[in-house]
């Protein structure tokens, strides 16, 4: 294991409040400030802590519609995954591209300004992506739990 209990405790507190000062982080994790900063540096060097991202609230920016598109690919073509993914990257409204082992092959998280805009993106940019065998949509209503915190 690359991270011990102290590392995990520091990461847990940092994860709960990423903008926290080093002094406050050290206090909550019950270590000295020097230890906290040394541990974080080591976690960065090892590639465990890769950085921090700001979370954009697209709804506040006027992107009212969010849809999960679950795509089944035509797997008779050996390049289906790669070509689908490369083409999906070119659609600006696609926020996430995931691949799965299971009932669906790929998932795209797509946003749009309103339903008319979504219909336009869906018809002109999504349905034209290569190797789609089947596609189903989940309309996003609300985030009940967000942030993707790990149970450290």
């Amino acid at each position: 294991m690359q991270a011990d209990d102290t590392d995990r405790r520091i990461l847990r507190h940092l994860q709960a409040d990423p903008a926290i000062s080093m002094a406050e982080l050290a206090r909550r994790a019950t270590v000295t400030e020097a230890t906290a900063s040394r541990r974080l540096e080591r976690l960065r060097t090892r590639g465990i802590l890769k950085g921090q991202e700001a979370l954009i609230d697209w709804r506040k920016l006027g992107w009212e519609v969010e849809v999960s598109l679950r795509v089944t690919l035509d797997k008779t073509n050996p390049h289906a995954f790669d070509e689908f993914t490369a083409a999906a990257r070119l659609v600006p409204e696609v926020l996430e591209i995931q691949s799965f082992l299971g009932r669906v092959d790929m998932r795209l998280r797509v946003i749009a300004r309103d339903m008319a805009h979504y219909q336009d993106i869906y018809r002109s940019r999504i349905l034209t992506l290569p190797h789609i065998a089947d596609i189903e949509a989940l309309m996003h209503i609300a985030d009940i739990k967000r942030g993707e915190a790990l149970p450290l």
Partner: protein, 151 residues
């Protein structure tokens, strides 16, 4: 809705890849003064355009080898309140995100586990015992990438 100009969009793009950037460093990148950059960053946070920060962690390096997306359909709609289900599911530490959706499922969950047998434990003991839970459909995550979005 918040109106953004090109400079706001450039600031959002930069912070979306590195939220720890200081107003000084970001200003130098964009050719703005530190106070101007700071005021714009403050407005983006206070208006809610930036909803918060997320640590980018190596899940596998921390021992979480498996991520599974679950589509959950409630069995007894109306009898068990959505609030009961939501409260219980949010309390499970391995459940990273919960989304209320419309379509084939009622909820979409992102679940992490150390390995597949650990996932089975979470599924049997914690997910399947949730109030009102009906059918559960699982897809194991193989790869994922986040895109910058239409900024």
């Amino acid at each position: 809705m918040i109106d953004l100009d090109d400079m706001d969009r450039a600031i959002l793009r930069a912070l979306a890849s590195d939220a720890t950037l200081s107003a000084g460093a970001l200003g130098r990148q964009l050719g703005l003064s530190q106070p101007t950059t700071w005021r714009r960053m403050k407005r983006l946070s206070e208006s809610g355009a930036i909803a918060g920060r997320r640590l980018v962690l190596d899940r596998a390096g921390l021992g979480f080898g498996v991520t599974v997306f679950l589509g959950v359909t409630l069995a007894t709609k109306g009898r068990v309140s959505l609030e009961d289900f939501e409260r219980a599911v949010c309390a499970i530490p391995e459940v990273q995100t919960v989304q209320h959706v419309l379509g084939l499922y009622d909820y979409r969950l992102r679940v992490v586990a150390t390995d597949l047998s650990d996932f089975e434990r979470v599924l049997r003991r914690r997910i399947m015992t949730l109030p009102g839970v009906g059918q559960v459909d699982a897809n194991v995550l193989l790869s994922e990438e986040r895109r910058p979005g239409p900024l």
